[in-house]
Symmetry: C2
Subunit: 330 residues, 2 copies
Amino acid sequence: MKRPTLAVVAARAGVSKSSVSRVINGETTVAPEIRDVVMQAVRELGYVPNAAARNLVTRRTDAVAVVVSDPPKGVVSDDPLFSTVVRTVSRELEAVGRRVVLMLAESDESRARVERYVAGGHVDGVMLVALHGADPLPAALARMGLPVASFNRTAATDVPYVALDNAGGAELAVRHLLDRGRRRIATITGPLDLYESRERLEGYRATLRDTGRRSIVALGDFTRASGAEAMRQLLEDDPDLDAVFAANDLMAIGALRALHQAGRRVPDDVAVVGFDDIEAAAYTMPALTSVRSSMADQATATVRLLLALIKGGPRKPVIMPNDLVVRESS
Amino acid sequence: MKRPTLAVVAARAGVSKSSVSRVINGETTVAPEIRDVVMQAVRELGYVPNAAARNLVTRRTDAVAVVVSDPPKGVVSDDPLFSTVVRTVSRELEAVGRRVVLMLAESDESRARVERYVAGGHVDGVMLVALHGADPLPAALARMGLPVASFNRTAATDVPYVALDNAGGAELAVRHLLDRGRRRIATITGPLDLYESRERLEGYRATLRDTGRRSIVALGDFTRASGAEAMRQLLEDDPDLDAVFAANDLMAIGALRALHQAGRRVPDDVAVVGFDDIEAAAYTMPALTSVRSSMADQATATVRLLLALIKGGPRKPVIMPNDLVVRESS
DNA sequence: CACCCTTCAGGGAGCGCTCCCTCACCCTTC
DNA sequence: GAAGGGTGAGGGAGCGCTCCCTGAAGGGTG
């Protein structure tokens, strides 16, 4: 039951602890025969280095905290963002031999826990996911001097991030609707304390402004339910609208449902375009036109950014391009 | 930049390291005035205990590994299972002050990594999620003597688990369809190396058998695409079927789409029932009837099971009940 | 041939913490 | 008033590892 230690391996191999340590850590200044005899002992004993002891002296942890900000209610339990990002990030980090410590930051309490944990030097870096604009966490973490990279932009200007070209994506969507001859194009926004929501809204507004059309805006919070609710609101306020650009696909799905319930045909009466191109977008009826932005690619880019930061790389943001996937809903 | 140590705090407070340690660990045998002066010093210095040093001596880690088995292709990137389970588990574990180390077990390599990591004694327990029947990991982990709890049943008989009443849920679904007057009821199964798939299939079969009807089975793998594909297959093989029970909602969504494309009306021509009652189920058109089984509750139960095991509790499985949510698709 | 330099193994301090043990002190009790 | 018991603080060993330093041995050079 008791795990063998370095000393035990050294004794077994008939060499010093130092030599075993060198072999374990892949140092090159070891004679091949010592290497072999050590490896043999390691194998026989099933030796696994004790990470705690190692961390204690090296002050490296080989671990990265992945901090996900959850809406307090936690309703969007099947938000693809979470799965895709967390999964991709884990995969990437594991591939380079780093541990992933997952932390949720959904309450002040859990935020404090994250701060304490990170302050405790238990991780080499932090990756932030989906933090609200007003969240004090990014700034607090950045202040600690630890490498921090954010999936999407945050209010903390000194935190390097990977974001989409949100305004550009919105423009793509709106121009597409205009090309299709739509004239009253509404939008359903995400929560406006999120940068991506604001940027998508701004892209929508700017594009309409450029073509002399007015904006019709309803607020959502990136959930299906909010999309449905916003859509009902829009139909009430402006029964003549003939297109909707939803700031994410989940809300577009909600909008689709609300339109159906209101007896509007999609795309005949109202065209719908979403954002993110999640898998579900291809399975709505009618299938959803959406701005494609590979969350997986963005997640990968964020991991790479963080790893570069840990190695001392430059703190500069990365912007990912996106394009439009046209399906039946527009 | 250098973090203060216990010794520094002790010096500052004018007491011994032992006393500081006692205060930090909440021992009761400390005089209130010493408590106060220590807490004061801790606050002033922003002291955070070094977990590595602590783990080294206590041999506890306060960490739990959450191991998620991914399909190698990783297609189901917005599978609600992942979000819901991982999120709920994190929340529960953080609430009791435990770290969550997330690990993916999708390849032999990553499986070996998990095994090595767990063998290294870096965690106090392991929670397994969505492991395939043939996966050698559960048994391997159980052999290490470390507490292991599984979300859903696995082939390793000595690993305690929390599962749904899958057969019962399937029976609920099929009986409902029979009550609605359906006579040719097909099913789309999940991957058959998963216990829950087999149990749902068995529940379906048994219920039909009891009423003297024959089974019509198509294989899926829990993804939307497989559901659509299986549905097309079923329609081809048995054009007269009037109902489908899909072993999960994602496949039901795919089936819905395939039915739509084949020109069948739901529920008029073909009734559809899913399993899991994910959020998306309420947003399909028509809205999906589904067997409800709170994944969040199941996840919570699994965490509690694991925590109980760590405390030395009994290794007995837990079965969760489920019920049927009737919507428009049946 | 003597000397120096390089290469590489071993010794051992020390990372920050816990926990056992010792010991001082105070309160009872007879 | 002395002895005994209990309470609670301090001292210090040691957890398993890395990494600096020392020193032995071998090879090259003048």
